[in-house]
Symmetry: D3
Subunit: 283 residues, 6 copies
């Protein structure tokens, strides 16, 4: 079997001077994948490319609100459709928490025989393979709302023990003056204390002890960098608990679907027009 060809698509592309600080809008494919080092090994056995994301039209800053996620989603599916149409890819991996445009991209991908995966969706499926209950560690009240939407839409409400909010919101105008996540990451990478990581550890322990979580999912891609740090600190505290970030999950789920030669069910994501119609759809 020749190597599968993956396209990793970021959620959106800010202007170079947006000052987001977590990933560049341009550069090598590796540079376009935030915290690339953490997922490099998952890309070793595939051919892959990365797309910086459609140019942001919701503002020049990261997204947290439903309104912003919707705008980003509509922009991203154009990228997905065009990438599918090139015939160059076997699968598309949507990077970023919140999964903007994921279900629509699956629908588009099916028409082209291209599998599509996304972070939160892949994380939730992976988590329930490891135990029945997962908790979500997420960054802000508003971003929590989007994660909650996904839990419901993907139908994991019986498995999700709740969303623990560490209150480190994204660098957006509304959050001016709040600590910057990029600074927190830099501290942690230098081996210095990070208040964000401390908050995540406390949230993780609450998820385990109070909520009953058996594995943990990081909600926002701006928090994915914490995975190795958080898992390690939890292990040191005696907790034998998997912590899942989204990029590896989405990449590996794409590879799994390709090996299985599956995209999605044609009854869940019908063609246009559908090959055959049913009299009744179950909900």
């Amino acid at each position: 079997m020749s190597k599968p060809r993956l396209l990793l698509v970021n959620a959106f592309q800010l202007s170079p001077n947006a000052g987001y600080g977590l990933r560049p809008a341009t550069g090598t494919r590796e540079a376009l994948v935030m915290d690339y080092a953490n997922v490099a090994r998952h890309l070793e056995d595939v051919e892959w490319d990365a797309h910086p994301g459609a140019l942001a039209t919701h503002g020049d800053h990261p997204v947290e609100m439903r309104e912003e996620f919707l705008i980003v989603a509509a922009n991203r599916i154009r990228v997905v459709r065009e990438a599918c149409a090139t015939g160059k890819y076997d699968a598309i991996v949507l990077l970023g928490g919140g999964d903007p445009g994921y279900l629509e991209s699956v629908e588009i991908g099916r028409r082209f025989g291209v599998a599509v995966t996304s972070c939160a969706h892949a994380q939730m499926h992976m988590a329930t393979m490891l135990g029945q209950y997962f908790g979500i560690i997420d960054i802000s009240e508003t971003h929590n709302a989007q994660m909650a939407n996904l839990v419901v839409q993907y139908r994991f409400t019986e498995h999700c023990t709740g969303i623990r909010n560490i209150d480190f919101p994204l660098p957006r105008p509304a959050n001016a003056g709040r600590p910057k996540i990029s600074d927190e990451r830099a501290c942690a990478l230098r081996g210095e204390p990070s208040a964000m990581l401390d908050a995540a550890f406390a949230a993780a322990e609450a998820a385990i002890e109070e909520d009953g979580a058996e594995s943990l999912i990081l909600g926002c891609s701006a928090a994915f960098w914490m995975r190795p740090f958080l898992e390690e600190r939890l292990r040191a505290a005696g907790w034998d608990v998997p912590v899942l970030e989204g990029f590896a999950c989405a990449i590996e789920m794409a590879k799994l679907l390709l090996r299985m030669r599956l995209t999605a069910s044609g009854l869940a994501f019908p063609m246009d027009p559908p090959r055959r119609s049913r009299r009744r759809k179950r909900v």
Copy 2:
């Protein structure tokens, strides 16, 4: 109390020559409300205006696919935001089945103190006031998928008995050659037989007898014209069952919210930034 001011916003606006046949893109406010006669009485005690919808960018035809719904949604929330910003409206009523952009519009509306309602959402709430179980009568396999999404997202899965598909798809390129819904409506209005209405009646009886529905919801706004015909035929067959179309439900729910001086919970739809953050969000 002065009369509440409502803006009714269509889902999208096609070009005049799109040949959709169910509603015009321009004209009086009454002309912009499909099947206006059926809902006229619900607008008598309010001040209202109608918006034709943002110009369609997904194609020049009605929407059925997830991809199309997303594009329409992203376009519509701009209309909603601008309408809110004018300060001219107390509530916005989103017309059309499938509810594109509804939850995002509620979020936007809250920032302005404007209530927002939408058809399927209002229909499902109204239906469960009347009995525990509702069935959805809908037009096509692909449109069913969108309705199913809404049932899940609005968390009515325990109350929805399924989506009965009458297979009268919308006039879209993919459905070329299929019977036109506008012709079916015209037949019914002339008192002539309509195969679409016959199919809806059969689907309704199946929903009642096989699925256990206690009330019926019409899924797509292109099917809302059937409400009086269908309810009457069901009554003649002995079924004492309410049939709900979306416009009246969404208009009346908007009026209800205004009288209650409510928009939505600030904990479900937080401000940006949120007034106060919680440590944990329940899902």
Copy 3:
């Protein structure tokens, strides 16, 4: 449309010397509606009358026990049946928490084409329009049991985050020596501190932060007076959360049903005999 005609029916009528202290057994229609000032605006656009409730036969004191609720319910449905039979009312609004006799009254009302609404039922429906999760703030362990019954019977178990008990029981022989709710209300109205209000505030914060409530319902009508005070204190504490009392909800839901020309589904509340029988009822 001529103004709808509503009859507001209290849960029961105590003797003048019962010393309940929250509402009189006789007087003007306004006097018969507890905390009338809070709901006056909801009655401005209707014709209405108030019924003091059937004379209490369970004892001369408010109700908290299942046994008492049942006796009160059986007495009240006679009032409902007689009121329906007069042909003078389009809708009947059952006042009081605990909803004694509500479902039976809906059944009776349907035979006469009269809509019937009740406090807890309307509150729960209204609450879920605003967000997915509501918490109930209620007065006593025994009253909580009745509220829990209603949550189950109305099938809101997935939406109710629990019943927070502030332990200010009703003035009943079994509760002799406990603080009087009427005194608490008087304090609050005078702008003085009220231990009951303090307890409700603490319960509300617990419902929000620990239970995940997105809106709050007051359980017992003897606690409805707290609505404006509680909502205001919560807002001052940063919580952007709706607090719902029952009278406004039940009145507005009655008006909604009338405008929709609906009472209830004939398949959920069949006629006697039913117009048509099904082979199977879904549960």
Copy 4:
């Protein structure tokens, strides 16, 4: 252990000339227990008496409507309270389908240390001991509504596969001209064909094959006589399925509770006043 002392309480007492035909209003204790022969063996090891039920005030005919069940319930709990107060009984068994007044009677019984059981409640518990899914075979559309209420209130919705309606309503004015159940029973007892039994058999097979029932519950006490006939016919057809009527289940559940020295949880059925209050009640 001395023999437990049981009081069997009928749902209501009609006048001698009501023409119900299924059980007399007066006579020996055995005569007061409908189809006594079917349950005699369950009463051999207890001391017992039977109460004819409170005199009916809803009309002089059996009950099917919610309104009637409520009136009967309020009347019956007086009988229960008085019987408890005599100190003569260890347990009270409420006879009759639909369980009017059951939960209230449990509350009353607890105050006296008296266990209370009822037919549908006991049947549902017994059924789920034998398999996960039970179907209900019931007599009429209106009676079905009451049975559905019980399934919800007792929280067996995940276990009940639906209510199959055989459409043999009770002898009530609204059902004038319909076949009499007493005639059907007489036919069956004589070994002659009974249309009611045929309908029950067809309903039972549908419950097994279409709904997935693993055991069957007869809904109305007027249908309890069918138990041996129905089970036998099902066995002859190859179905190895238990059929449960309510009297034996309620009697045996009462004996079980007595042997366990249990009535009900004081946290589900608190005393008046409660011995101790909780801050939160789960729903």
Copy 5:
């Protein structure tokens, strides 16, 4: 009716020198029933014998791990099959928490017309007769996993408020150095303080106040001795809550089934081959 004949079967039999300290491997039937005094009265009206359990092959110590439970289960069903084949018993009662081999034993028993009951299964059924929510008080993290399995398999997830872990693991090599349960029991029986009992009391209060439990189930048979102590302490603290151990529940449920002349549904536990096959099994 002649007395029913019961066989009580222990989960496994250790060697005499295993040092388990809670029950002997040999002796009179009474000696084989751990804490016999607590259940003696439940055995007064039956003929009964006790089996020491199959010789342990998982190791010479009690079981806590899934692996151990499975080995014990496979050994025990041989005992059950042989006991059934003797024709000497009407029912078999499986002693011990964790219910190893229970569902398989029910299947075996049905072939012989022998009813089979087990502790946790009977406790959960009994608990839900008394209230809707039960909490489990259990001894260790690993044993909790088995109890959780049972809650899921018996489908009580909506009724179980969680498993409270008192962390007094069984005397197994992995738990060397931990306090011995047999010592704790001895202390309590002598009227001295027991840290295990204290932990159980704290867990019980947490289950009641934080989790919403309305009755309590002891998980492991090594904790069953606490029932009278724990219930008494809870009552002294004002909690009116039933505490259920497994032996009495399983014995009484066996007697109940025998009186009802039932074993289990043939559709849930089909014969080999099944008497009749269905086209579809509900899950």
Copy 6:
């Protein structure tokens, strides 16, 4: 990354003269994998070996009864433990439907850092990645009972639309005289009609049209050979539906876990003793 090392373990090993006809007890590793050709490509990128399964002690024939599955499970976990202890494998793949010993094997594997997967478990996870609802196509009433157990234990009840029974039981003494599955397979492989395949096609269509399945799972490994035939026939009939057999799913899920460097959550499958205990386990 060096190639992962997998051990495929059959459910049990019959004697050479058992006449099962579907797979040999000895031979090359390829011969030990039933229908090897269908899964060969999934094993190309791993090192692997196959184990014939522990020698059967339940009888010399395939398993369908709960009793048989339990015996097989207890035998198989010895094989798993020994294989783990060799240190030669990174993952163990349990072959065969019904998943005997799966959860116990995961527990064992974790102690050694070895991932364990099994057919039905992997199929259900894979199916819900493709759509929300899966139907199970299975071979016999008794085998259905085991599959139902798995759906419950793995907590997929909300996603499983039911188990369709094609009634082609395994070659066991109880099923003497029934058509042989090996003959059916041989027919199909020769391109001749197979009644079993016809039955599976009919069951699949019923699962799609009546039950709402969006993907299909084959239940018993003796039916896995039908996957390509069934999917092709469904596609020819217009159904765009994935059909999943277990071997590929379990193999690929093992590879996925290895790439993710995960086995299972230590909170769901604790060590012995657990690294750290919680006070409460969620169920």
